[in-house]
């Protein structure tokens, strides 16, 4: 499979009254054609800012991409002009946001929002765009699509609005869709509907998908490869199976251990990640996870570990990966 998107040492910072926040601090990853890649992490780890940076949707002030490159179809998106970037957004890369309530324009009909994008990017007539909009709504499982075109977002439920967002993201046949917490605001049965829909459509149409989420279950069910983020950096990456069954970074390990399992009877008390997430304005040269880490060593105070290979296709940013994997083997 060919590489579709390559993010290289991307850095995005925000200027705040408390100081400079390095929200995304040199992340690199790639996405292959038709692949589903997950970016997983907790609030404030930089997963959403990383995605918005790809789309160049970081508002200045206060935020700014200060370095790195995003290679997509022979172009570096970071260097494109605003006008050139507008041809990428929605046309070549689609986006599904978290909030189906606020990401559609409340004063425009569903039909207008769908057809506007297609007319702008594809240059089709209103008639053709209308026809395609009906097809798209049908494809995302909205009943009676012709009538829905005339409705406004408030006529639709949260799940239905998210279906419209997916139709919108697919409307110009992009190669890549970025979905930022696409189901966090939805109920669990609706979440399952939306995720099955996205999975089915991306597989069928060969669209690659970046899913940004904090839900470890969603990642396990849908992702081919997983990037785990902590404090603005990717700290582990691998195939989903390796991340869940052979986690090599202490944070990944602690995160997986701290969630209860619905499919197993309770065994013991939970084993939480101790302490609080770090303050991003006060990071030093050392590893950001070390105050909460059970494996920290002296070296972690001074330098940040690079992402090193622990197995083919599996990298982790920790000096102690050998100890983490060895002790875990003994424990299990």
């Amino acid at each position: 499979m060919a590489t579709l998107l390559e993010v290289e040492n991307l850095q995005t910072q925000f200027l705040t009254s408390a100081g400079i926040v390095k929200a995304v601090d040199g992340i690199s990853y790639d996405v292959e054609e038709g692949e589903t890649v997950a970016i997983v992490g907790e609030s404030g780890c930089g997963k959403s800012v990383g995605a918005l940076s790809i789309m160049r949707l970081i508002p200045w002030p206060p935020g700014r991409i200060i370095g790195g490159a995003v290679h997509f179809q022979g172009k570096d998106l970071v260097k494109l002009s605003d006008a050139e970037m507008r041809h990428v957004r929605g046309r070549q890369i689609g986006m599904v946001f978290q909030e189906p309530m606020t990401s559609l324009n409340p004063v425009l009909t569903i039909g207008l929002q769908l057809t506007e994008t297609m007319r702008h990017h594809l240059g089709v007539t209103q008639e053709d765009a209308d026809k395609r909009a009906v097809d798209l709504l049908g494809m995302v499982g909205i009943s009676d699509p012709a009538r829905r075109l005339k409705q406004y977002p408030h006529h639709l439920s949260g799940g239905m609005r998210q279906r419209v967002m997916i139709a919108l993201a697919l409307s110009c046949e992009p190669k890549l869709i970025i979905a930022d917490e696409p189901t966090t605001a939805l109920d669990v049965t609706i979440q399952a509907q939306i995720l099955e829909l996205m999975k089915g459509l991306t597989r069928r149409l060969g669209v690659a998908l970046i899913v940004i989420t904090h839900n470890l279950g969603v990642v396990a069910r849908y992702a081919d490869r997983v990037n785990v983020m902590y404090a603005g950096k990717i700290i582990e990456r691998g195939r989903a199976h390796d991340i869940y069954h052979r986690p090599s970074h202490p944070y990944t390990l602690a995160l997986l251990k701290s969630v209860p399992r619905m499919d197993q009877p309770r065994k013991a008390k939970l084993d939480p990640v101790q302490g609080q997430p770090p303050d991003l304005t006060r990071l030093d040269a050392g590893c950001a996870f070390r105050p909460r880490c059970a494996y920290r060593a002296e070296r972690c105070e001074r330098e940040f570990p690079s992402l090193d290979t622990v197995a083919p296709g599996h990298v982790a940013a920790c000096f102690e990966t050998a100890r983490v994997t060895r002790l875990e083997k003994v424990a299990s």
């Binding site: 907790e42 609030s43 439920s157 799940g159 239905m160 109920d187 669990v188 049965t189 609706i190 979440q191 399952a192 509907q193 995720l195 099955e196 904090h214 839900n215 470890l216 279950g217 969603v218 990642v219 396990a220 069910r221 849908y222 989903a240 199976h241 869940y244 069954h245 602690a254 995160l255 997986l256 701290s258 969630v259 209860p260 399992r261 619905m262 499919d263 009877p265 309770r266 008390k269 939970l270 084993d271 939480p272 990640v273 101790q274 609080q276 997430p277």
Partner: protein, 338 residues
């Protein structure tokens, strides 16, 4: 008074019952018109709910948005006046208590809210927030003693007693939720309604708060009504679980029994929709996604409210409302087709 409804799920070895909910209904009127407002219907948020909670037990109340789980909790807290039914606490009907008795009762029933950002007054220090219930109820009128008790409570919930002088905005979400818990504990209650108490927190912080709730339950012999939509957490923390759909309890059982042997088609669909954090389990699990969305509680379907989305539905389901039946010891299901 007319005949009491049957004690639906008092299992043989139930121990003593702390709280009973009997035939609870909460219908909110829906108005139309600005000048001449008239009632055009009712939102049947809770529509005939019965359950018991045993002393020392944690009962999970689960379901999706709008199923009535929060409204049930609010009725128990007497924050809503139910349209019908009764709530018995230690055998006393809460609706029949006079002002003073109700005031005394409130100190025994406390609540932990979902949102640690909006449930703490931003203009009060943490110490004042935790101390206020003791001041209002007069359990600790002396300022110095109250401050000492506040510091004790902070220590109990795992916060440094120095936090007493801080304001909520100086704290993280997890720390604020600990303040909310300390406030709920300040009157030494017997019963706490945890309304989505951990839903707003990050994964790594959730586990800390879950463990804290467990420790406090053991330490103070607390009884919880644990209202949540996260089924994994419910399985971990609860003794028994009630599943709600559109204002009704559709299934109630011991925790492991419910998760290992779900019987109601809605419970099965709900459990099936929850992704398990293990790619191998997920790859080998059938994914049958339930179709459609939850109907409006203003005009719920006739008969069994779940029948339009149900794979087992037969003609009879449109006509008669299924009651809860005990299909296995302690396992109650409101479905005629299982």
């Amino acid at each position: 008074m007319s005949a009491m409804p049957e004690r639906a799920f008092a299992a043989p070895h139930a121990g003593d019952i702390l709280l009973s909910v009997r035939g609870l209904k909460m219908h909110f009127p829906v108005y139309e018109g600005a000048l001449f407002r008239k009632v055009i219907g009712h939102v049947k948020a809770v529509d005939g709910v019965d359950f018991d909670i045993r002393r020392g037990e944690t009962l999970g109340l689960v379901g999706e948005s709008g199923c009535g789980k929060t409204t049930t909790g609010r009725c128990i807290l007497q924050l809503e006046r139910p349209s019908a039914g009764e709530i018995l606490f230690n055998g006393k009907n809460l609706a029949e208590l006079d002002r003073d008795a109700m005031r005394a009762m409130r100190s025994r029933i406390q609540v932990i809210f979902q949102d640690p950002y909006s449930s703490l007054n931003p203009r009060m220090t943490v110490g004042d927030i935790i101390g206020e219930p003791m001041k209002v109820h007069g359990t600790e009128p002396d300022r110095a003693k109250r401050d000492r008790r506040v510091r004790e409570l902070l220590h109990t919930v795992g916060l440094n007693p120095r936090f007493a002088d801080r304001y909520p905005h100086e704290m993280s979400g997890g720390q604020r939720q600990r303040v909310g818990i300390a406030r709920a504990l300040s009157l030494q209650p017997e019963f706490i309604v945890c309304d989505e108490a951990i839903s707003a927190l990050d994964v790594s912080i959730q586990a800390q708060i879950i463990n804290l709730l467990e420790d406090l339950r053991d330490q103070f012999n607390l009884t919880y009504l644990f209202i949540a939509h996260d089924l994994s957490v419910v399985r971990h923390l609860c003794h028994r679980v009630a599943v709600m759909y559109l204002g009704k309890v559709v299934e109630l059982a011991e925790c492991d029994e419910l998760f290992d042997n779900p019987m109601h088609p809605y419970t099965r669909a709900l459990l099936n929709a929850v992704p398990i954090p293990d790619p191998e389990v997920e790859a080998n699990r059938p994914h049958q996604v339930i179709q459609g969305e939850v109907p409006s509680p203003i005009n719920p379907p006739s008969g069994c409210v779940f029948h339009p989305r149900c794979t087992l539905a037969v003609d009879g389901c449109k006509m008669s409302i299924p009651g809860l039946r005990e299909l296995r010891p302690g396992h109650w299901v409101a479905c005629t087709e299982v």
